[in-house]
């Protein structure tokens, strides 16, 4: 070919390519605008709407499982420690003298909570992922019986009553407790509890059960929240009192104090209504202890110190004499030792106003916290031997149980369950997630607001745009992979950015998480599945749910009136992630807030993430379309009746 021909050909190719490019761009923009119904959108990548498959999500892939200790129970003779290993579906028996695992039992369904009967003949296992309680004969170490209970049981306690033995089970995801008769297992009541009940204890006389809830409710997003300590009469399962734990949540355990009229529950004091201009002096949250009497009268006292914090209080154990309580701080890898005599002295002297304000006084804990014992990674559950001499600490992310001599307050050995999983980046990431060492004075961890990667059910007032009404609802991290961008303003294009320098500036108030740790952290987050994903995925819908689904995907009203594309649910909340990953205006702009466009959240697990909307103003899914719908901007809902709304909500809860 002549040189002139080459030039002409190249020019034509270039012109053709440019034409294809310009035409393709124009077509894609038109395509986006046609299918979204929004003329403000320009080019967006294809994967906003196409090529997304849940089965390809990181969290849907096989992952390594670890023998992480959850609940524990000590045999009445102190010779055996039973340990639930929920991630590997096992319960093991350890010899407390030799610290060797003597027997293993496979129990499907994520065995999490354990309790023994009075004689130690039966071990009761709460299987979180199968919604059942399994009774295990400790002699043969085999299951002998099982019973379905509420959703996601995580803790249980055994007691003797005048009407026979009872087992009280905390069902974390159905917000209730199952009260069971034993031998055979039979549910006699399922009273409602606080939100996400997570710990249960029974009084020494067996008459009362105390169920503590992990999440709080708030009547309005600008008013203080409260979690609940539910007092249940065990013979009948009747609720005797709902004690309010004001501005407190994340209680994961409760313990009765022998010889005193007390129940103790670790908690997090939260201050989400105060603008987060700083974090010093527990400005955002601090750790505390609820002291309740048998009538549910509660005093909250601090566990933190003025310049040092012990984040994420979780398990609690009290010795048989009622002299000492031990509180595991999962975020600071330590056990706080509380002298209950000293605490009693303080309570006896303090007047009512002082008690009411006690949890705010960070100098107070020095009066009754007598030691802080270091542990390995993420101590969560505690158990104590019947003679009170040995404290067992479940070091969850170290796959071990630490034994502590309570007389000398020193470690005496460790039951090794696994290698700790340090070679697994997901496990390493979970360690970063639960480690408070990345925040100023170790005040809190990622888990402090995202228990198990989920939500704490609160909205926080950040000051990034100055002090004012900048409430932002806390969003779940479960199922977050593939839903970028992040933040309600959609400014963080990746989890790496979300959890990096910006997070250090607005919340951690210290160094950013180091790059290697950040990589592990985001790996962990991307592998968090939506709640109960395996149980929900591809399950048949009930008729009501199916009707709700038709409403969700409706393109016209019953009378044939078309629903504008931009206001159809499925347009912005496009399956399978139920988000188009774009900003939208749904009429929820706050007074004084310049922003009207918000990131479209995914809906996987939406039924468990109340409150809703960017500032958490909607307490329930229903309120989105009843109280806070404006001119059908958030979907066309004006033609729905209440039954249709209920059916839509029932469908959303299946996601």
């Amino acid at each position: 070919m002549k040189p002139g021909g080459s030039v002409i050909l190249s020019t034509l190719v270039l012109i053709g390519s440019a034409g294809v490019g310009v035409g393709g761009y124009g077509w894609s923009v038109a395509h986006v605008r046609r299918w979204s119904g929004r003329q403000d959108l320009n080019f967006v990548t294809c994967d906003h709407c196409h090529f997304v498959k849940l089965e390809r999500m990181p969290w849907a892939q096989p992952r390594a499982h670890h023998p992480s200790p959850a609940g524990m129970a000590v045999s009445p003779d102190g010779r055996h420690l039973y340990i639930a290993l929920d991630d590997v579906n096992q319960v093991v028996e350890a010899d407390t003298a030799t610290r060797a695992i003597t027997r293993r039992l496979t129990i499907a369904g994520g065995p999490f909570g354990l309790a023994l009967d009075s004689q130690g003949e039966h071990l009761f296992v709460a299987c979180r992922d199968r919604d059942q309680v399994v009774s295990v004969s400790t002699r043969e170490f085999t299951p002998v019986e099982s019973l379905g209970v509420g959703t996601a049981p995580v803790a249980l306690a055994f007691c003797q009553t005048k009407d026979g033995p009872r087992l009280v089970v905390a069902n974390s995801m159905s917000d209730d407790a199952s009260v069971l008769a034993v031998s055979p297992l039979r549910e006699i009541a399922r009273p409602e509890t606080g939100r996400e009940p997570y710990g249960v204890a029974v009084s020494a006389d067996g008459k009362l059960a105390f169920v503590v809830s992990r999440l709080a409710w708030s009547p309005h997003f600008k008013t203080p929240s409260a979690s609940e300590l539910t007092l249940i009469y065990t013979p009948s399962g009747r609720v005797m009192k709902r004690a309010s734990l004001a501005s407190a949540h994340l209680s994961e355990a409760v313990a009765s104090v022998p010889g005193r009229d007390w129940e103790l529950a670790p908690l997090v004091k939260v201050r989400n209504l105060v603008p987060i201009t700083q974090v010093a002096n527990g400005w955002v949250m601090s750790s505390g202890l609820a002291v309740s009497d048998k009538l549910g009268r509660v005093v909250q006292v601090p566990l933190d110190e003025a310049n040092d914090y012990f984040a994420d209080p979780s398990g609690i154990a009290v010795d048989a004499a009622g002299r000492r309580a031990y509180v595991a701080s999962g975020g600071s890898d330590s056990i706080s030792v509380v002298d209950l005599d000293r605490l009693a002295n303080w309570l006896a002297k303090a007047d009512a106003p002082t008690k009411r304000a006690a949890a705010r006084d960070l100098t107070l804990s020095a009066q009754y916290v007598i030691d802080r014992l270091p542990t390995a990674r993420n101590p969560r559950q505690l158990a104590i031997s019947p003679d009170g001499r040995t404290l067992f600490v479940a070091e969850r992310l170290n796959d071990s149980v630490l034994e502590v001599d309570t007389a000398g307050l020193r470690p005496i050995g460790r039951i090794v369950l696994g290698d700790g999983g340090a070679a697994d980046p997901i496990r390493r990431g979970e360690r970063v997630f639960t480690q408070a060492g990345h925040t100023f004075q170790r005040q809190f961890s990622c888990r402090s607001c995202h228990p198990d990667g989920h939500v704490d059910g609160l909205a926080y007032d950040f000051d990034g745009n100055g002090i004012g009404d900048n409430f932002l609802d806390n969003r779940s991290l479960q199922g977050v992979a593939g839903t970028e961008p992040f933040k309600w303003n959609g400014l963080n294009p990746s989890l790496e950015v979300q959890c990096g320098v910006r997070f250090a500036r607005v919340l951690m108030r210290t160094d950013p998480i180091p790059p290697a740790d950040l990589k592990d952290l985001t790996t962990y987050l991307k592998h968090l599945p939506p709640p109960r994903w395996e149980r929900k995925h591809n399950q048949p819908l009930t008729p009501a749910q199916a009707r709700g689904r038709r409403l969700f995907f409706a393109t016209q009203q019953p009378d044939g009136t078309p629903i504008p594309r931009a206001r159809q649910c499925q347009t912005c909340h496009r399956p399978p992630l139920y988000t188009d990953r774009l900003m939208s205006s749904v009429g929820t702009q706050s007074p004084g807030n310049p922003h009207e466009m918000f990131d479209t959240p995914h809906l996987l697990g939406i039924g468990q993430t109340a409150p809703y909307l960017h500032d958490g103003r909607a307490r329930t899914l229903e309120e989105i379309w009843t109280t806070y719908q404006t001119n059908d901007l958030h979907g066309v809902s004006s033609y729905w009746n209440k039954h249709q709304l209920n059916e839509l909500v029932e469908f959303l809860k299946t996601l």
Binding site: P275, S286, E305, D308, T510, D511
Partner: protein
């Protein structure tokens, strides 16, 4: 000049009566060989021999009559900074301040390698901060007008110091008092504090905050200053009282964080350490309620306390007429045998030369282009005073003050207090701010003289007005957070009010 030649033998101080020390030839040779090998092979980067300490040595008999500033008084001509290693032979030290007229105040960076100290090259020069060169001529790292003192190192590796160096007797009465600055080792300084009174003797806590000594403003300017410990972040934000509030001796020096949640300090009953000095500590768990003597035994004057290994401290105590270095456990019942003692010198400021965890950092939330800071008070009527105390009276308005260079208060404007006791105002940055709580009749019921400051774009909150220390806020939504802030940043701070 070779490095080897720079390893000076023990020289007698210029005015020393000087005791004759027996030389330990084998140990000397071994020590010198170690140091020489270390220096010749690797220059400055190899770690110092384990257990080494760096300290100031001052001539014990030097008259301080010609002292011009506080460092002249503390480190008279001939004072030097030396490195000593086990077995701590007094005649075998490595002089780190060679070529300087006087030097002192050594500190060791968290890497355990770099050593900084204050030095004065000639009598006519200002004191500046120098970096040691392991026996070579130290290099100045500051060139501050009026001098620099009190070095410390923050998480970024930047140097923090106080400047200028006050004249003797003027530390707490200067019109332009010394303030804290930070600078990269080879970069420009940036000012961190904007207090009405001096900000001196910084040290860096493990949590990353800079702890320093300053004075609480007094209603009576002629009264003795009430010194306290305060903190700021490493960008100068979040000025906060840390400890000490009229609960002991009025003068304090050299706060240092120890293990076990304690902060040690040197207390004095007179300014400039002219009187008796002793070691105290506060528990960081209850910093305003735990001030106590550090040692159970009575000792001579104390010049410094520094953390050592295994929970012990290095204390420079005066015994037998001069100061020596003692390594003491917290439960020590007597000073015992000094670790390092040379009767020919006062041994001061002894610090372990060892790596330690880098302090935490702080990602600044300042907005340097913003011309105001915002302050939110949750409840001005939350005070530490008893209900029957006149100072607990209900406030209706807040008068915001600043202070001129001469310390004269000037009104920036007034802000209404909302029904829940909260208020919010935008205030000029980097000027001292004070507050007067006014009752319905306009009477001042509580007063905080100009003392704190905000950096540009800083959002700052307080929970009350003279509230109890170390309290967390209640979980209550302040009304002021939902109302526009009152703007007090008009021309020349004219007290412009807007937004209401």
């Amino acid at each position: 000049m070779t490095r080897r030649a720079l390893i000076e033998r023990q020289a007698r101080p210029p005015h020393s009566a000087g005791g004759q020390q027996k030389r330990s030839a084998p140990l000397t040779a071994a020590w010198l060989a170690t140091l020489a090998g270390w220096l010749l092979v690797s220059g400055c980067d190899r770690p110092t021999p384990a257990g080494a300490i760096v300290l100031s040595q001052t001539p014990p008999t030097t008259a301080a009559t010609n002292a011009g500033d506080v460092l002249d008084l503390r480190y008279p001509p001939g004072s030097r900074v030396v490195l000593a290693a086990p077995p701590f032979q007094t005649n075998d030290v490595l002089v780190l301040s060679a070529g300087l007229l006087a030097a002192g105040e050594p500190i060791v960076a968290p890497d355990g390698r770099r050593i900084f100290f204050v030095g004065k090259a000639t009598a006519g020069d200002d004191w500046q901060i120098y970096q040691a060169d392991n026996g070579g001529r130290p290099a100045p790292v500051t060139a501050m007008p009026g001098g620099a003192m009190d070095p410390a190192i923050i998480a970024t590796g930047d140097l923090v110091f106080s400047s200028p160096v006050p004249k003797v007797g003027e530390t707490w009465a200067m019109r332009r008092p010394p303030q804290l600055f930070a600078k990269p080792i080879s970069g420009l300084p940036r000012r961190l504090t904007f207090a009405a009174r001096a900000a001196v003797e910084p040290t860096v806590l493990a949590d990353g905050r800079i702890l320093f000594v300053s004075a609480r403003p007094a209603a009576d300017a002629s009264a003795s200053p009430a010194l306290g410990l305060f903190t700021v972040n490493n960008d100068g934000t979040e000025f906060t009282a840390f400890a000490l509030d009229h609960d002991g001796a009025p003068f304090v020096h050299r706060p240092r964080e120890l293990s076990g949640g304690r902060v040690a300090l040197v207390a004095a009953d007179a300014a400039g350490r002219a009187g008796k000095t002793w070691a105290e500590d506060v528990q960081s768990a209850r910093p305003f309620a735990s001030r106590a003597r550090l040692f159970s035994f009575s000792a001579g004057n104390c010049a410094s306390v520094e953390p050592a290994s295994d929970g012990a401290v290095l204390a420079c105590l005066e015994t037998r007429g001069t100061f020596g270095v003692f390594r003491l456990r917290p439960d020590a019942t007597e000073a015992g045998t000094p670790l390092f003692f040379d009767p020919a010198w006062n041994s001061l400021d002894a610090t372990l030369v060892a790596a330690r965890p880098n302090p935490m950092g702080h990602v600044s939330a300042m907005k340097p282009t913003t011309h105001f800071g915002t302050i939110l008070c949750l409840d001005v009527n939350f005070t530490r005073w008893a209900p029957d105390d006149a100072r607990s009276a209900k406030a209706e308005r807040i008068r915001v003050l600043t202070a001129s260079d001469a310390g004269v208060p000037r009104v920036l404007g007034e802000v209404p207090v909302l029904a829940d006791g909260s208020f919010m105002a935008e205030v000029p940055p980097e000027v001292p701010l004070g507050f007067e709580a006014l009752d319905a009749q306009g009477r001042v019921v509580r007063r905080e003289p100009p003392m704190l400051w905000l950096r540009p774009g800083e959002n700052r909150s307080c929970i009350g007005c003279h509230e109890p220390y170390n309290r967390s806020p209640g979980n209550v939504r302040p009304l002021a957070a939902s109302a526009p802030a009152v703007r007090l940043v008009g021309p020349a701070g004219a007290g412009e009010q807007a937004g209401l």
